[in-house]
Symmetry: C2
Subunit: 332 residues, 2 copies
């Protein structure tokens, strides 16, 4: 099978490794931001982020997008959410009518309504036609995915398309669940970065002996993710599966969003922490994710989401972290 991966960063390259493991003919296309990565890989060196060989994967520079897509039977979309519209707009003329398996997480402003929306909705509006969009949710750190550590993902889309994607990518180490609940799966993926930041706050504000508080916050995050998903037309069961519970677990257990929250929890302004982490080359997806999630809830009048509101106050309205957390009243 011919598989084209768009985006040569961590997760795109990992998905290319998964496809190669399954014996497919794999092309990995790097965006204009990935040129430096592509240069290194073309010299036969290890992928500079994954530290793995991309041997037997054809790597294409940004100018060769049409060539990368020609004859493809499955497209993996692994560009970050900021790049989704520019990349897919350029890809559209060459894009075969095959499933687009997207590992991209986030919400985007709809050019039509101005409201925060799922990525597949915004792409369909932008391109003027729906894609055969399959969202891949679930806890999948790229390095482990590439190396074949047991991973359980959830593919969400039309049954025919999730079946094709699962058939192409699943193997002994990559378990793939399937659902038609694209709304639930995409929202879970977008929301978990926001809530994972929230779990980090307790580490900073209380210290390591905040197990009860973190577990309470984890539970409340699941409650609010379910509120948001169900109100938006998705299914509670998606929140209780790998895309929700599973992905929040891995995101909250470690990683940059948690670290971001922890530093804010210690009392430093979110804006400063985000600047410092950006300067150190660390993306803090939780920072914009909180704004996007809160806007999503507000625009639709969805609630109650007291934890998300508290996060927004702390991270985006410079409210004092300790007094907001102390005053937090969530539904019990």
């Amino acid at each position: 099978m011919r598989v084209t991966v768009l985006g040569a960063g961590y997760i795109g390259s990992a998905m290319a490794c998964v496809a190669r493991r399954r014996g497919h003919d794999v092309r990995l296309w790097g965006t204009w931001l990935d040129d430096a990565i592509v240069d290194v890989c073309e010299r036969g060196e290890l992928h500079p982020r994954l530290k793995l060989s991309l041997d037997r994967i054809q790597i294409l520079r940004s100018g060769r997008l049409a060539e990368a897509l020609a004859g493809s039977e499955l497209v993996v979309h692994a560009v970050n959410s900021d790049g989704a519209i520019p990349v897919m707009t350029r890809a559209a003329p060459s894009l075969p009518a095959v499933p687009v398996l997207s590992v991209t997480k986030g919400l985007l402003a709809s050019p039509r309504t101005g409201q925060m929306e799922r990525i597949d909705v915004v792409l369909a509006e932008t391109l003027g036609r729906p894609l055969r969009f399959v969202h891949a949710g679930g806890p999948a750190k790229a390095m482990e995915l590439a190396r074949g550590v047991l991973t359980w993902m959830q593919f969400a889309g039309a049954a025919e398309d999730t079946g094709l994607c699962a058939g192409a990518m699943a193997d002994e180490t990559l378990l793939v669940g399937q659902t038609e609940d694209r709304t639930g799966a995409e929202l879970c993926s977008a929301l978990k970065n926001a809530y994972a930041t929230g779990l980090g706050l307790w580490d900073g504000a209380i210290g390591p002996d905040a197990h009860n508080a973190r577990a309470a916050a984890f539970t409340q995050a699941i409650v609010e993710m379910r509120t948001l998903v169900v109100a938006a037309g998705g299914r509670a069961e998606t929140v209780h599966g790998p895309a929700g519970v599973g992905d929040l677990h891995v995101t909250a257990a470690a990683g940059r969003n948690r670290a971001f929250g922890e530093r804010v929890g210690r009392g430093k302004a979110a804006r400063i922490v985000a600047q410092e982490m950006a300067a150190a080359g660390e993306l803090t997806e939780g920072y914009p994710a909180i704004a996007a999630a809160f806007r999503f809830a507000e625009e639709r009048g969805i609630g109650p989401v007291p934890f998300l509101r508290a996060l927004h106050e702390i991270i985006w309205e410079s409210a004092d972290v300790r007094s907001v957390l102390a005053g937090l009243r969530w539904a019990v």
Copy 2:
């Protein structure tokens, strides 16, 4: 209000501190296994495990059980599951008809049927009458509960009784949810020790870079806990709240069950690890919890629970951890 706590270990003493914080007249009764603890506290020293003062809490030695219970308006049952029948049998003649708020987690063999059962069912059989039993589930490490770190518990029982217990114990730092689903809450509390051990296996078998596998196992644990709870007549929503998701989160994040699993995951026989940990004074509740949970499922023909079955094979049937984990096929 007069509150009597039965059991002067970690969690009983912490519940006594919570009741004292609410201004109640608190009596803390130690079982015959707690005599050494009571001696220390009676000399006015810190509680030897909690390292906190029990000032303004009346502490009674094991021989003074009737006195401890006289005039009590709320009884907190904080004896471990092995002690539940002997303690409540002795307490029964002096026990007022007030709610019994139980923080005890586990399953017991019914003297009537021989099957594994909820503690409140076995106590009612043993005493020949039902208690006003309220199970307290949720992520509540004793030290943090005593110190007033934010904690979210779930009280499960008859609405009148959970209301009385929540009214007596909840405060700004202890949030209390209420449910009539005693089955769900008790099973969650019993099952989480078993599954937390399972999450530890991956750390041992794969190492620290097993985030995806641990998150997959966390998700699968929730799936199987729901299967068991619903089949036993409980509610899925209980599993998705503090008693299930929340308590599994805190138990799996740290603690002895996880450590037990990790050492077994590295390839050492479970029996040996349990012996070593017992010799070091570390209780490994997950060890018997796996046997009890598996027996509970088998006796009722509940399934599929492939992760629990795999745990039982590894921990109780000396199966090779790596080959069992590699062969594990869970429902996706």
